[in-house]
């Protein structure tokens, strides 16, 4: 695990504020007690611990925090938030960091995770519901990791856990409107 070198970034003073407004969480409330990181079930796989992610935000160290793997390994299980004495909504902070990193075209430290999320959302666009078989097939095509988990896929298939046909929303345009509206930049508002 990396020990962050503390270099408060004077050029990125606005970054802390940007994260606070986007997530609706006052990251200034964190006093680094590390309860979040002690509770986190996936901290051992992260480059920065959850409390360190918050510290990087506090110090405005934009590049370090937006390119770290921790923001992509957080699954939003809220274990940290339950431990947090100042009730910081860590999942909301992580959501804000991930989406800022994508918009500002930072290199994604866990591209496979992002690819998976994109396939789930594509499936929702197509059917209004998540079609697992297709999500997995397309994910495999994108990541080119065909052999990994082949046996898991086959076992699930043989137990009829992967339906061939998707379960669909009938009024699919109601779903697609949410996507179109975003692309149009909310002119309908």
């Amino acid at each position: 695990m990396n020990q962050p070198v503390i270099r408060p970034d004077a050029d990125n003073k606005g970054f802390t504020q940007q994260v606070i407004s986007r997530s609706g969480v006052n990251t200034g409330l964190c006093w680094q007690c590390k309860c979040c990181s002690s509770g986190c079930p996936f901290s051992d796989a992260m480059d920065y611990l959850p409390n360190q992610v918050i510290r990087l935000v506090q110090l405005g160290m934009k590049k370090e925090v937006l390119s770290c793997s921790a923001i992509w390994l957080c699954v939003g299980c809220h274990t940290c938030s339950m431990e947090c004495p100042t009730a910081i909504d860590m999942a909301a902070v992580m959501d804000a960091l991930r989406q800022t990193a994508m918009e500002e075209k930072f290199a994604v430290a866990e591209p496979d995770t992002l690819n998976f999320h994109k396939e789930v959302i594509n499936s929702i666009y197509r059917y209004g519901r998540a079609h697992k078989l297709e999500i997995m097939m397309r994910y495999k095509l994108t990541t080119r990791r065909f052999l990994e988990d082949m046996n898991v896929g086959l076992r699930m298939f043989s137990k009829r856990k992967l339906d061939l046909r998707p379960s669909k929303v009938h009024h699919i345009n109601a779903i697609r409107r949410m996507f179109w509206r975003k692309r149009r930049g909310h002119e309908s508002r």
Binding site: P41, D149, R155
Partner: protein
């Protein structure tokens, strides 16, 4: 809650993508349990995916509107029962967000052509079960799961974002209900450890480590099976554990079995870790 003439409880029902597909045995056992206890469920017409972890991870706006459409579809006169704990969190927290924001309520009206209903009750399976348990429904099946040693596994369903801290979690309900049916819960350390959700796909080794901790912990505590309340936890525990581990049962399957339903329904054939030898040895199925 809506009561019809013969005192049935009526709920709108949101199954969610997992129960509709990969965890049909969870869905069917839940439906049969409800039928057995005069809980009438009407599936929400044309429901859509709540957005799952993926929408809130990379598109907060979509993560808001997807659950909102389901809220707009819900009939106002009855509670909305959400079968999956993750979907419940998305629907409930979206409802709370809109209720707290007049602008969001206006947008809701514009998008879905109906007024936001601030009084819509959104409940999860545990909430409904607690109501059934309080009515004394399990009194007559006291011995049906006799001696079955289980590890109650809640996963992250006991965890909430800060704004939902005051919502009940029903921690302990699995132990309470299943032990009233004769089963024995084990004490163990990992009942609330997250299964890894999507890391099971994108970082299988990371997820497998967490699953190993959970499965080993249950076995060391002396459990013969793990009981889950979330279809995704169930799938992750099954696909990421090594061969030869103890079976993982859906809570709803055991509840149905206790009431004498489950035999010959094909639920247990769908498990990746075959629970049938255990269930046969306990004479729960033939």
């Amino acid at each position: 809650m809506a009561m019809n003439h013969d005192n049935e409880m009526t709920y709108s029902y949101f199954p969610g993508c997992s129960l509709a597909t990969s965890a049909k045995e969870n869905n069917r056992s839940m439906l049969s349990f409800c039928q057995q206890h005069s809980v009438s469920l009407e599936e929400l017409k044309d429901w859509n995916c709540c957005g799952s972890s993926s929408a809130h991870s990379i598109d907060s706006e979509l993560a808001h509107h997807l659950p909102a459409r389901n809220l707009a579809l819900a009939p106002p006169d009855r509670p909305l029962l959400v079968a999956c704990p993750s979907c419940y969190l998305r629907l409930k927290s979206t409802h709370m967000d809109i209720a707290a924001d007049p602008e969001a309520q206006k947008e809701f009206g514009r998008m879905w052509g109906r007024a936001f209903n601030p009084d819509l009750q959104i409940i999860n399976f545990f909430d409904m079960l607690a109501r059934v348990a309080d009515s004394g429904a399990f009194e007559k099946n006291k011995e049906s799961l006799k001696g079955l040693r289980f590890a109650p596994y809640y996963g992250c369903m006991l965890m909430r974002p800060p704004k939902m801290r005051r919502e009940p979690t029903f921690s302990g309900l699995m132990e309470k209900v299943l032990s009233s049916l004769g089963a024995d819960p084990v004490q163990w350390a990992h009942k609330a450890r997250c299964c890894g959700t999507f890391l099971s796909v994108s970082r299988p080794l990371v997820s497998a480590r967490s699953v190993k901790t959970i499965m080993d912990g249950a076995e060391k505590a002396g459990a013969e099976c793990i009981v889950t309340a979330c279809a995704m936890c169930h799938l992750n525990l099954e696909i990421r554990s090594q061969q030869g581990k103890i079976p993982v049962l859906h809570f709803s399957e055991l509840l149905s079995l206790a009431g004498g339903i489950g035999q010959g329904q094909g639920w247990f054939r769908r498990h990746l870790i075959d629970p049938r030898p255990l269930l046969r040895s306990r004479r729960l199925i033939a």
